[in-house]
Symmetry: C2
Subunit: 282 residues, 2 copies
DNA sequence: CACTATTTGTCCGTATGTATG
DNA sequence: TCATACATACGGACAAATAGT
């Protein structure tokens, strides 16, 4: 029995994607992951039909209850619509990945982003710098730093979770209200620490429960993990931040040409031991 | 009893990270996510001690078996070491994120990467182009394309899962052996489709089981999700590929300066409907 | 050296939720 | 709906290794 056709059809190598009961994760969840990936990858576009419950039973040798739960999970997330007789179809992305960032023109991006989004401050205070933060900011561990946790929203939808550390000598005296209304880059500039350059790494991670809650996601979902170390014109580290982005609402986009620079791909080796815990861990 | 101190100390807002039994995900898994994030974020560096099983019991009100399973999970992943009487400690990253990529100098990166890694071909063949691929390659859906699934390995460890589509008129006649030994960019060049530029988007996704198996990860883990549309000098699309990277072994790294270009941040709106499923989905 | 507290390893029995048939 | 199987989670108990007094 083949894949229940219809719509765009084409379900490649369905059987190659195995689900394993002894895997720890519930079966319905594993199947939901597979189908979700086909949707976000674009393989199943808006309007496309997902395999029916009966198809799923046959494809992965599971009971219909399990198949139904997998599809219901996707429906709860708003990815698909289910209807008797019509099957399960991929919904129009009401708002496709709402925000993309080009990696050139950092300053312009930051300020444009600040204009279009709102900030909610989750936490804000002064505390001794943990080791890895002190390392990034060239401070001795325990030095006081300003720590803030914020959420950026684009027309009501949580876009990113931002955790920022600023040396207390710079961040001293900022109010929570200022942190809500004024872009951090401007606050830094107004306190004699105008950002000049930054070193940024992009990775991925799973959402811990507190971040997941702040971003309206389930715990364990995949997030873009961006770390940025900002220095001013004199080379002093003025901010370290970790931003976690919802991948369905935010992504990076870039044009690749020929050479330009000659920085490039490299394996580990090198990298000084002091920096090990921090930026060069990546 | 407070947080089991020791080592680097500083466990911020431990109690603020709640675990919820009715969340769907198992408790031990939720706790493992929290602790794993503290390790990969650098908060707990090599040698640092994790909270003991008893600590975890108190912090999140779970039984010792649950606490133990959370810690055992991290030990299985090779992140921590456990020993009676000594507790659970973060391991030295024997090989820190083995590979990082600067985003300038695409060609140099690609060839350098090809030198240092090996390729394993998982699947290879010709088939009608699914809609989203045809869209990216400016073909009509159903046109024959060459499709390949490969895994890139760096000294034995799976680094990335690569899925590539090339129009059949270009990719016709390539052998599986050539795809293993010769960089794709060179193969393209040798068939009159020398890559000139590419448009790339970086996002994150969860690992479907087949990809997870190929990369030696558990299904559902977070992956870097990179899509690239390559065009030759005449503007013809010559390849579309989706690369999924292990975030612990690979990440992007870049320097951010002032302006340079004026491409930048934007919200949705715009974007032609035809391109909706693909790169300009954002 | 013993003594103790800490911490993990292993075992038991039981209750609940998930998934199959 | 029911019986069965398994994973999850709880509570408790004891043994073994480590570190400090």
């Amino acid at each position: 029995m083949a894949v229940g056709g219809g719509g765009t059809g084409y379900v490649p190598e369905a059987e190659a994607q195995l689900v394993d009961a002894s895997n720890g994760a519930p079966l319905f969840h594993q199947i939901a992951v597979i189908l979700r990936d086909r949707i976000v990858s674009g393989e199943l576009g808006p309007g496309a039909r997902l395999p029916s419950e009966a198809d799923i039973c046959g494809l992965w040798s599971v009971s219909r209850i399990t198949a139904k739960r997998a599809l219901d999970t996707l429906a709860l997330e708003g990815l698909v619509a289910r209807a008797r007789g019509r099957g399960t179809t991929v919904l129009q992305r009401t708002r496709p990945p709402s925000a993309t960032t080009r990696l050139d023109g950092w300053f312009e991006n930051a300020s444009r982003m600040a204009e279009a989004t709102t900030i909610h401050v989750l936490g804000f205070g002064y505390r001794p710098a943990p080791a890895h933060v002190a390392n990034e900011l060239d401070l001795t561990p325990g030095t006081e730093v300003q720590h803030a946790r914020r959420v950026r929203r684009l027309d009501g939808r949580a876009l990113s979770h931002l955790e920022s550390w600023v040396p207390a000598e710079i961040g001293r005296g900022w109010t929570e209200q200022a942190m809500r209304a004024t872009p951090l880059m401007r606050l830094l500039a107004e306190h004699g620490a105008a950002p000049a350059t930054a070193r940024q790494t992009i990775s991925a991670t799973t959402a811990p429960p507190d971040v997941a809650a702040a971003l309206d996601m389930v715990s364990g979902a995949a997030l873009l993990d961006v770390r940025r170390r900002v220095v001013d014109a004199s080379g002093r580290a003025v901010q370290f931040m970790r931003a976690l982005y919802r991948p369905d609402l935010y992504r990076f986009e870039m044009e690749l040409g020929r050479s330009e620079g000659e920085g490039g791909w490299r394996t580990d080796a090198a990298s000084t031991p002091e920096r090990q815990a921090g930026a060069s861990q990546g």
